[in-house]
Symmetry: C2
């Protein structure tokens, strides 16, 4: 295996680590919603209008386990729950921006072609 191949293997490994965390239909949208500040369950659900409570609950738990999202219970009446990004979650800012930029670029390219 030459050096170029080794670099490629290293990159493939790193991409798998990242993909494991961001894989799925809802995780990136949830993280994006939380970059706009701390939010409650219902607020995220309203932002991402077509997510079901089941999926939101499930994906928030997974993100919490990966230390991307922090869940805070407030001892108010009634009890409220707040979700926010951890420092690790906030470290995804550049990644999220590139996803957005490329998404916009891709849409423009597709429209150009179709007209």
């Amino acid at each position: 295996m030459n050096q170029k191949d080794q670099v490629c293997q290293y990159k493939l490994m790193a991409s798998r680590d990242a993909l494991e965390v961001i894989q799925g239909k809802w995780r990136i949208p949830i993280i994006i919603a939380l970059t706009h500040g701390t939010k409650r369950f219902g607020e995220i659900q309203r932002d991402i209008s077509d997510i079901s409570p089941k999926m939101l609950s499930q994906e928030l738990k997974a993100l919490e386990m990966n230390k991307i999202v922090k869940r805070t219970l407030h001892d108010t009446m009634p009890v409220t729950t707040e979700y926010s990004l951890t420092p690790l979650g906030e470290s995804m800012t550049n990644l999220l921006n590139e996803i957005l930029n490329w998404g916009i670029h891709f849409r423009e390219e597709v429209l150009k072609r179709d007209n």
Copy 2:
């Protein structure tokens, strides 16, 4: 809907466009393999050692349809096929780099925590 919400909705839309293209276990790895230059079917399969020919064939077709990858047939004996990135595929460089950077960062954070 206030301005902050509108920005959030726009971002969510853009992320969905991008996610539709990069979703799945194999697409990002395939694109990464091709950033190291034009490759043949068997070469990609050797780089990504645990992909089956079925999945590689299927995902290459999808990427070709989205104009991320170009397929070139060479009229040699025997016939060889080469895959390379299109300009649109090459425009993913920044996105791929951020995925890699964050993947490395994430792995470091996880290791820190586990020790």
